[in-house]
Subunit: 261 residues, 2 copies
DNA sequence: CGCGCGGTTGACAATGATCAAAAAAGGTGG
DNA sequence: CCACCTTTTTTGATCATTGTCAACCGCGCG
């Protein structure tokens, strides 16, 4: 339990009382084994403890769209709360272990453990951020830019987990990376070669070493043709005419016409 | 308060006691006005009541990446919980009203109102789903496929809000749509023309009428070249070798080697 | 040993990004 | 109401990037 919360980024003070009787179960998933099935109702949420998984949605035409990469600390299955069924499958990229949280006891667990509640919220927030970062990956027009961003993104996630930012062991196949970046898998291969020829990275199959992060960042820079967007469109502060206060950048802490409801 | 929860998809029974003294404030945002600023710390979360907003992240090269479209019932600002600052700005697409929830009193409000707590979780789950749906939009190779998907997606969201699924009034500019779909704004324009010439839709500036949803769905079908992916890759059920039980599709409700922790 | 799978590279056609410019819509001030 | 400006949208033309098809290599596995 304590380990779970540390995983999720919350340090439990030594004095914190944990209920040892709570139904926290550890699960092992073998490589390539599905942990959850698209379309299935959800009785358990999972928190990744070790290893990694991918979430995959099969589109109408059979194309397998990779939606996210779940690393230690990530929460799986929460997306099902809205519609009752999972929008995507989760498949282990390596032998992994996950904590299982029965949904019908979750309410009670959160009440008894405010820190768990906080940890879950933090994790949800993080995954929301990661989802929009995935959009950033696909935003670039050039394929090598997308790959460069992907590598830097992976590097950043490795750092969050306390791992080396330079040495990556990709558990995703080229095809999976292609799906995540929205390009053809041949193009991924070419982009790897291109970055490697530049000396930015060293590629040995799925082992990637980031040699020159500066240059890599430079190549990850241009989203699309430097034109209208980047021009000196002098967006000064005085065009704020809404609830925001120009002088303080901070969200509306006074309301023009507040009416309690 | 009751209105807030109905907005978020939770029906309050008439007997439900609401605390009238809770600090629920209604905010007005004028069109094009920012509600929240990228990089700013967050003191309030917002729930959209009427109108619509876009969340926008300015990338390193100045490109404005549109991340999500917030419609009534959506929660804004939660992404900031993880890092403490907002990853994106929120800008009103029309005159809108939002409920403001002070974060420092949120904990307390959730405790006093379990239904509010549930509503927030449901909303978070929904937004997680929407985020992955956004990835689906960008997954298609052809630009007209992306636009067709976008229109169907908007249509579905309109239905969720009880509006007509055929008649759309887009509050987004072509440039914004282009950003969301990951293509050039000229291409969006062309894709509109293409779909209109086909008779699938009727376009009058930002008013779009979906004439033939069947054909539109057909055009939204192909993600990429029908090849290896769509082949009869007979993915039968007996390749499950993990924690899942083949006979029941449901998540692991027994665990091979459970160890309570 | 042969087969299949993941990865790499090549060749070619096509889609879309980009540049350019005109047309339409929206807003402002007389 | 109209002239005038800005912004948005549309259309055109050109060229590069990349998707697609295809062949090839290396590897693990039955």
């Amino acid at each position: 339990m304590r380990a779970l919360m540390r995983l999720m980024g919350v340090n439990t003070p030594p004095t914190y009382r944990v209920d040892e009787a709570c139904p926290l179960v550890l699960c092992h998933v073998r490589q390539d084994a599905p942990l959850m099935h698209e379309g299935a109702p959800v009785h358990t949420l999972y928190v990744v403890r070790t290893g990694s998984l991918k979430t995959v949605k099969t589109l109408v035409d059979g194309y397998e769209q990779l939606l996210s990469l779940a690393l230690p600390g990530d929460l799986l299955g929460f997306e099902a709360l809205y519609q009752g069924t999972l929008p995507a499958s989760a498949i282990a990229l390596e032998d992994s272990t996950v904590f299982a949280l029965p949904v019908n006891r979750l309410q009670e667990m959160r009440q008894n453990h405010p820190l768990l509640d906080y940890a879950i919220h933090r994790t949800l927030s993080r995954q929301l951020v990661h989802a929009s970062e995935a959009a950033e990956l696909m935003a670039a027009v050039a394929s090598d830019v997308r790959l460069a961003r992907f590598l830097l993104w992976m590097s950043a996630r490795m750092v969050e987990l306390g791992q080396s930012p330079r040495r990556l062991l990709l558990r995703l196949s080229r095809r999976d990376i292609a799906s995540l970046l929205g390009i053809a898998h041949e193009t991924v291969s070419r982009a790897f070669s291109s970055l490697a020829d530049d000396g930015c990275i060293k590629v040995d199959n799925r082992e990637v070493e980031l040699l020159d992060i500066g240059r890599l960042t430079a190549r990850a820079g241009s989203t699309r043709g430097v034109s209208a967007e980047a021009r000196p469109r002098a967006r000064t502060a005085h065009d704020h005419n809404g609830v925001d206060v120009p002088s303080t950048w901070f969200g509306a802490d006074r309301w023009p016409d507040g009416e309690t409801s």
